[in-house]
Subunit: 380 residues, 2 copies
């Protein structure tokens, strides 16, 4: 099968509007909200083949395919989602959405606050992973999906997948939790805090109301992304790709971009600062920090997971140091303690945390095989 | 022996002025310079018991003791240096200095440029580790020290100690290289680059000439230090000390300081930004990035070290991920390949990179035993 035959036809984003007040875990109540989403494939007659893709920090609803033939890039997980791909759109009805608080069309800090007629900005409430799960459940209801064949996500997306099984124990058949963790460590929070401080102390942040000033806290957002990128890549991978390579011959004895790795990071930072919203970045990192499903179960993750019907696939990558294999094994142990069905794979990869977006062959094969079995189950 | 008996009497900083033009590796020539330094103990008759302490990124010449009885803190390595301590001032004549480019009195960006009558600021040239070694050799000449009993340093200080043995192969009897590396990795450079960018893009940096504007790039310096701190501590140590502890009961759903680790990092950042110079920070990180003594020896560190007479002690710490034990083993391997005398210890510690400043018992005992032997040698 050639690459073209495995790509989706042109895709279209849709918008689901929810008019009812939506209470958030932090105590605030949104007067309603909208979610941008995309679907690929066809929902079967008994509505059993739906798969939810949860995105990570900077993702959105555009998971796969292109909007137009000449789009430079397809959706962010096009390698994984499409006809004949591991998440096979010939067999599954796949749903991707932009999370509440996002900056790609779902209600978030850049949206207009109906109470003021201005962007929400700093006033947009902090949301937690469970708020996302609750809002995703409303989307599932709207689409007529009572139970997902699978909820799938990497990193922060994996946290949503895990949380689904706690909040809605009977609405998830399979949970695929990739390169994730049951809660952040102090070091994880520390990195997030430096990123947040870069944004919060940018003079053009204006307490979150930069929209009113016609500027964006670009410097802060750029630094946050540069720092993030270091934690997404492995020491080994970065060494292999960039090492100590210089952009020109010899040391320049200045503070200009000099090593290739500097050039890469600054480019990534600039590109991100062009397209992403700083308030959304703050909100996403805070959702990461707060995630801790064991918290209301006396610190016991297995107690939190006790009621779920889901089967689990947990995947980690050897060189991921943001959420190391050890963190995934915590999840696996809690599931085993709770006597749940769980498969675990630790994939050899040089790609660090980013490996969940890459196409290391054992990873792709595992996803393909597992999801084939899920498809057989739901179509049986 | 009680703690008081092991402390130095009051110490005094001194200043050595060098009037001759001083050419730097980057091509610039300083019209002369001064170095702040301190000495503890007594130089013996044959001038064989002198020990040089090289400081790391944020260190200075105030290595041990107090300037006044009521000083809140002693010098930065007072646990290691003093009467009866591992670097025993009853037996050694210990020299500490503030490196060229520093911000504690040695000639650096905050000094007055004689050509303009204004602070050097952005015009102060980038220096490399070998420039420091050359300037330290001038100080040794001034003090009448032909050969150091030992040159000792941790982290960036260890790089200076190593470089001494390459540049002046016959002037170092023992090199003690602690928590260091023979060159930075791409990941090391990446962290430095984010820190530099935080400073360079601070609107109050003014291209390095902030002194003229009566401000300092405080936000950038603060972020740089917060980030640095994450890399100085181990994941384990940070987890043990802070974990997910909150400053108050329950989540606050805001972007204020909330987790204890955030409070710690912000405090460290604020304190540092109060006292350190941003241009010096840039300069120090660049010296780290550039360090690579093998570079002019076809990439062979053992070739770089071939000519030295020194004996080596290399020390690493198990949880140091900034310069992991693996990096120290590279140095050890090169020394063994060059048929040099080298001892190596990998010390179990939870303190990460900062362990070189801590007092883990096996580390202190090792330093004490090794330096006792050195003292016996030079006093024989």
């Amino acid at each position: 099968m050639n690459q073209d035959a495995r790509s989706l036809n042109l895709v279209t984003a849709q918008c689901a509007v929810f008019d009812d007040p939506f209470p958030l875990q932090g105590g605030a109540v949104l007067p309603g909200f909208q979610l941008m989403y995309e679907t690929y494939g066809t929902l079967n007659a008994n509505r059993s083949n739906a798969v939810l893709i949860c995105h990570a920090l900077s993702g959105n609803h555009h998971v796969a395919g292109r909007y137009a033939e000449d789009d430079k890039y397809p959706g962010w997980w096009d390698t994984m989602v499409g006809p004949g791909k591991p998440i096979d759109t010939n067999r599954f009805f796949v749903v991707g959405l932009n999370n509440l608080g996002g900056c790609h069309g779902s209600t978030g800090p850049v949206s207009i606050n109906p109470a003021t007629g201005k962007p929400w900005g700093a006033v947009f409430p902090v949301v937690v992973v469970n708020d996302w799960v609750q809002s995703q459940a409303k989307l599932a209801d709207r689409l007529g999906i009572d139970k997902w064949a699978a909820v799938i996500g990497g990193s922060l997306g994996g946290m949503q997948a895990l949380r689904w099984t706690v909040t809605f124990p009977h609405r998830v058949r399979h949970c695929i939790n990739i390169a994730s963790a049951p809660k952040l460590t102090a070091q994880n929070i520390a990195f997030n805090d430096v990123a947040r401080n870069a944004i919060l102390t940018d003079p053009e942040f204006y307490g979150g109301d930069y929209y009113q000033h016609g500027v964006v806290p670009r410097r802060g957002l750029r630094l946050a992304r540069m720092l993030g990128h270091i934690t997404y890549l492995s020491n080994e991978g970065m060494g292999g790709k960039f090492g100590r390579q210089l952009k020109s011959d010899g040391y320049q004895f200045s503070y200009e971009t000099e090593f290739e790795i500097e050039s890469y990071l600054r480019y990534q930072g600039d590109r991100f600062a062009d397209v992403f919203d700083a308030n959304t970045y703050l909100l996403m990192t805070k959702a990461l920090d707060y995630f801790d499903p064991a918290r209301h179960f006396g610190g016991s993750l297995s107690a939190a997971l006790a009621a779920t019907d889901a089967k689990f696939l947990v995947i980690s990558f050897t060189t991921d140091w943001r959420f190391s294999p050890e963190r995934s094994r915590e999840t696996v142990k809690a599931l085993l303690d709770a006597k749940k069905s769980v498969s675990y794979a630790e994939i050899e990869s040089v790609h660090g945390h980013d490996a969940f977006l890459m196409t290391d062959e054992p990873y792709m094969q595992l996803m393909h095989a597992y999801l084939n079995r899920v498809a057989d189950e739901v179509h049986a």
